[in-house]
Every structure is written in structure tokens, then in C-alpha cells.
Symmetry: C2
Subunit: 382 residues, 2 copies
């Protein structure tokens, strides 16, 4: 689909500049989309903070990120930011909203051009009221099939992508497991520790603090600098090396996640994923090809010896084909085209729900249905 020349407004959040200097996932994705669309020839205006860095056109009402200046009121500048976009809405053919639900209430009041909203996350069940009330005024994209609200119709699932060139492919598997993330029970560092211990492998942990009580009780006692090594937070180069030299990334989350960039980064390095079979994991990891989907700790431990049989080049290729920035832009281009045709798609069929397998193998395959998700938010081992 060629949308060259399309006048596209991309609304980024303003907690941080786009791209953000550090944390700021939504700003980063909005920026990535803006860059990607500009490269495809669209006429892009990025609504973001004034200190954003974008080679295309930036529109700003706030000089810096809300989180960068305590004098700025997020409510006030958020509303002005959105108000300014809709004031200029007639200048665009399409608006891509990456700033949650509030812009939808402005769209209610205007005859703005088609609006595509990526729901990057549901911060609280209460905001569903806004999505439901404004559903007729926007098309929606989810960042995984798992993160869809059953009450909303979606245009597409538009997985986030990475630039594979930013990650070094290492063809030889290492001899340790790695855990990357935050110290929170739902991220499952304690399960990674148990798996490594019982599988007789070393575990390297790179994570940022979140739940300190959990860290003290469930993680810290196991850190010995040898079998369980804690590296703190790791920056880009160290992260690339840490991921690439591992035998596998352990991603045994205890509640369903919307997406999982870490898994994609690991696979880009050639490292397979030992992942909990819930949330978006089955959409990201191809079971038996780029990792294993595990219904519990016992299964994960049983899979460890099989990790060496996985082809690391397959992991890399999976990311290049399905989770690259280019592939993300492809998906958004398709979504934009659907929105411009004012055509909401039919609900996905059972067959469509299996696109992942077909897309990857390029041929029909025997595909085991994804087992039901655990009812409890905590992970129940077998």
C-alpha cells in the first residue's frame, strides 16, 4: 500500500520528548512511527514537546516534557496539546493518536479526519467508559491480540517493532540464562531463579527496582555473584552482550502482559525465550522454534535441555520478518488504509487468529491451540 503524500498527524504523549532520552515507551513508539512514515513518503507532523528531535515537522505547545519541569501541569498542557491538534485537524488527512483516551473526547466534538488510536495500555478499567463512549469516533489498534478489550472493535494488531541492526546476532549459544526487567512478582524473577537452580545453570539478572519487599524476600537471598548474578540496570551495549551470549531469556511472567519488547530484543540477538504461556507471549514466541511456551515452572525446567536444539538464526529471522520497525510500519500503513476506506474489519476468524504460525513458516503447519490462560493473575505451576 502506498500512502505517499498523505498528510498525517501523529499525536505523541508529552511526559517526555519524542524520542525520550531514557524511559518513555509511548513517546518512543510515536517517534518510531513518525520516522517510519516519513521514510515512506508521508507528509508527517509530529505533535510532541518542543524539545523533541524529529527530522520532519514538529508541532508543540509545551517546550519540554511534563516530567522534565515540575512547574508544568500535565493536565493543563495535555489538554492544550490535544486541543491544538484538533484545532489544526482540517490540515490533515488522518490523525494517529498515541495519547490514550482523552483525544477521543475532542474528536467527539469535531469533524476531524479519520482518527486511528493505538491503545498502548489500559491504565485503569475506568477509562473503558471513555473508549466505549467514543468508539464510533476512532479506529483502534491493539499492540497484541492478548491486549484487546472484548467490548471494542479493532482495526488491526500493530506489534511494536525494533531495529534489528541495533542488536548483534550471535550464532553460538551461551551457557547461562538471563532475566531482564523489573523486580516485581508479575515479572517472575523468582521463577527464573528457581528454574536456573533446578536446571543447574547460572542466571544473570539485569533489572531495575520496583517492589522492594519482593526483591528483599524473593530475590536478594539467592544472589551469590556466581550461580545467581545481579548486574543492576544495564545500558545498551552491555544489554546487547548480556542477551546475545545467553542460552535463553527467561520470561516467566505471572500475569498476562500486553507485549514484551525484551523477548524481541533477545531473539534479535539469536537468543530463544523460555516464556510463560500467557498474555502476548504466544504471539511473540514461536513454540519449538524461537523458544518454548511453558505452562508452569516444571515445564520450563523440562524444556531447558531442549534449548540447545533451537536454531539461533531462526530467532533472528523471526524478529527481522515479524517484529522489525519496518514490519510495524507496514502494519500501520495497512491500518491507515483501512481507516481511510472507513471500513471497520470483521472480527478475526479462528484461521486469522493463527496468522503468526503461517506468517512465520510460510506454509500450513500443525499448530496446537493455545491453552486457556490461568484464571488467577498469579501463575499456577502444574
Amino acid at each position: 500500500m502506498n500512502l505517499a503524500g498523505l498528510r498525517l498527524a501523529i499525536l505523541a504523549p508529552i511526559a517526555w520528548p519524542s524520542p525520550p532520552p531514557g524511559y518513555g515507551p509511548w513517546e518512543q513508539i510515536a517517534f518510531n512511527i513518525a520516522e517510519g512514515m516519513r521514510a515512506r513518503g508521508l507528509d508527517v507532523t509530529l505533535f510532541a514537546t518542543g524539545n523533541s528531535q524529529f527530522d520532519g515537522r514538529i508541532a508543540s505547545v509545551v517546550p519540554v516534557g511534563i516530567n522534565e519541569d515540575p512547574a508544568l501541569n500535565g493536565d493543563v498542557y495535555g489538554a492544550l496539546h490535544v486541543g491544538e491538534l484538533f484545532r489544526r485537524a482540517h490540515e490533515f488527512d488522518l490523525i494517529h493518536n498515541n495519547f490514550d483516551w482523552k483525544p477521543l473526547t475532542y474528536a467527539l466534538a469535531t469533524d476531524a479526519p479519520p482518527l486511528v488510536t493505538t491503545i498502548h495500555g489500559f491504565s485503569s478499567p475506568q477509562i473503558l467508559a471513555a473508549y466505549y463512549a467514543c468508539a464510533w469516533r476512532s479506529f483502534f489498534c491493539s499492540i497484541s491480540d492478548a491486549d484487546r478489550d472484548p467490548g471494542l472493535a479493532y482495526l488491526a494488531t500493530t506489534y511494536n517493532g525494533i531495529d534489528p541492526a541495533q542488536f548483534t546476532f550471535r550464532p553460538t549459544a551461551g551457557d547461562y540464562l538471563v532475566f531482564l526487567g523489573r523486580f516485581h512478582p508479575e515479572k517472575g524473577a523468582h521463577l527464573a531463579i528457581e528454574i536456573a537452580r533446578r536446571a543447574g545453570l547460572r542466571l544473570k539478572i539485569a533489572a531495575i527496582p520496583q517492589d522492594d519487599g519482593y526483591f528483599r524476600e524473593e530475590v536478594e537471598p539467592h544472589i551469590d555473584g556466581d550461580r545467581v548474578q545481579f548486574l543492576g540496570a544495564v545500558e545498551r551495549d552491555a544489554r546487547d552482550e548480556l542477551l546475545g551470549n545467553a542460552l535463553a531469556l527467561v520470561h516467566m511472567t505471572t500475569r498476562p502482559e500486553r507485549f514484551g519488547l525484551t523477548m524481541i530484543e533477545a531473539m534479535a540477538c539469536g537468543t530463544p525465550v523460555l516464556g510463560a504461556n500467557m498474555g502476548s507471549v504466544p504471539e511473540i514466541v514461536v513454540d519449538g522454534a524461537t523458544g518454548f511456551l511453558c505452562d508452569g515452572v516444571e515445564i520450563a525446567i523440562a524444556r531447558v535441555p531442549q534449548l540447545a536444539t533451537l536454531d539461533r538464526a531462526t530467532c533472528r529471522a523471526h524478529v527481522e520478518r515479524n517484529f522489525s520497525l519496518e514490519r510495524m510500519i507496514d502494519r500501520y500503513i495497512d491500518a491507515y488504509a483501512l481507516a481511510l476506506a472507513q471500513k471497520l474489519p470483521a472480527p478475526p476468524t479462528q484461521e486469522q487468529a493463527r496468522w503468526r504460525a503461517r506468517d512465520w513458516w510460510d506454509r500450513p503447519m500443525a499448530y496446537t491451540d493455545i491453552p486457556p490462560k490461568p484464571k488467577s493473575l498469579r501463575f499456577n505451576g502444574p
Copy 2:
């Protein structure tokens, strides 16, 4: 000015129904305006909660007040409430916003009809950024001259009004002073106690708690059930009697207030006001006629013997003429007419700033300039 038939949308807040069953000053005023305009023949639609009680047309997106149901998210429903108004904006000739600054950011994005915003209060200096950014999209009314922000142009001062019929005029002055309000240093209960004690008069206090430490230290030790009586919070009938039978209301605030409904209620009962000469007090009390403007406690004490010389009928007439609901509606009708003519008024002249005196006396009078306000927020006696 006759605006009969004008299609008017009034936007009320949705913390409470309009009118509110108890507390809810902005909802009460929005309701009063809606009722008053309907009585003048305007075609009124009141945007308020679904459980609001209005004889005219109500438009609602939220069934009850946000503060009445903890499951309702104020951010979400506030945005939907405003979005719905602007979605329907083309159905109206004029929109009167009583819901603070957020609606202005929606007005930015639409070609809505003229918008009049009453600034009922500035909840924080940070919201000024929103008022400044959207100033070209709304006309502003202040609820007193004292409450104007110097950076905004105002259409009019539209004082809140009461229904004088709800208050009993009592021609004979009582022998006690009264304090009505909240226990907070800025309301000055401690100054009322000092004035009553040193003037040799009894003081009756009817107030609700706010600053408990202040109450315990500055007020409670003086309550003896005789010279200083504390009556708790008083309901309508008791309030009418308490105010009407007093010699004067003591309103020695220690920081400028936006308005002061209590003063108007006291005067409606015939009771003059001993008020601090700051904030809106000089706009509400006519010095030497309906009370005294006092630059400190010493002056207030010196004025006590002169209270008996004031004509209680004058107090009542002042309210009927200047602070009745009907007069409030007159002022809003004038403001609406100005807005419809798309004519922002010139800044007030020195002469115009004295309207209060002329309006009341119906003739030029010698009028002492209002002394500068104390620099400190706390009141400094002489």
C-alpha cells in the same frame, strides 16, 4: 436587554447534581443561572448530571454526581461531559461555561458559538496557562473585581446572587456578634473572638471544621457557652434566625476572598457586616451604610459602637438591589449580549471601578480609595 428565544447551553460541573443536595457551590450557581434564564424566556439546555432537577432541558452523559458514586472517574466523565456539549455546540447560539478551564481547550478545536466562561475560582496558579492559551476563544466573567487575574480581559463582573425571599428581614438589631463559616485562620474566627471580647459583646459562632489544630488552639479555649457560644453547623432556619438577630456579622478574613455569600445573607436579614477591607469585601459592603470596612482589629473594635447607627433596612435594600438572583441574571444577560456582539469591553476605568458606590447611592459620593491589600496573606492589624 431581551434575549428571549436565545438557544443557550449552560455547562454545569458534575461533581454533584444541579442543584446540589448539600455542598456544591458551582453546581448551585449554574442551576440558578439556568433557572433565571429560563424565566427570562431563553431556550436553555443545562448540561449536568442525569439526576439533576431542572424544569427546562437537561443533557447528561453521567447519571449521578461524580462524588456520589465512587465507581465514576471524574477525569473520564468530565471529558465526556464537555465533549458532548461541544459535539452539540452547533445547536446553540451561546454557551455559558461554569466548568473551569478544560472546556476552553475543546473550544480551541471547534467553531462553537460564542463562549462565556465564569471563572468561579482559580484552583491553582498553574491553570492560568490554560486560560491564557485559550483566552481568544472565550469571554470571561469574574465573580468579583477582586478576583480578576491581571492577565485576562473580562467581559463583566457577575456577582453571585441570592433570593432575598429566602431570608427574613428583622428590623431590630440584636445584641450579639456572629461568626459564620469554617474554622481556618483565613476565615478569622480568632479575630471575631478578640473583637467581641474587647468590645464587651457576646459572640455566637456557627462553623464547620477545617483546620483542627487552629480550632483547638485559637478558638476552643475561648468557648464558654456564654460570652463565646459555639453552635456547630446551622441549617437554613437556624441560620436565618442567627444572622437576623445579630448586631453584626464579623467577617474579618485574613486573606482576600473571591466573593462572600455569608455577607450577603447577613445583609438580607438586615444585619450589617464588620468586614476586613480586602478581597471582595469592599465590593459587597458599603462602608458606613451596610457595615464597616476595617483595616485591622483595632479599627473593627472602634467601629462596634457605631454599628447601632446603621439602618438595617438599608442593608436589606442593598441586597435586593445589587445581590439578588434577578440582579445576577441581569448582569449575565448584559454579558451575553456583549459576547453576542463579539465586543470585548475596554479595561475598566478608575470611574467604572467605583460603580458600587454610584449604583447604591444613585448619586456621586465621596469615596475613599481602597487601601492597598496587605502583602502578607495573614492579616496585619495596625
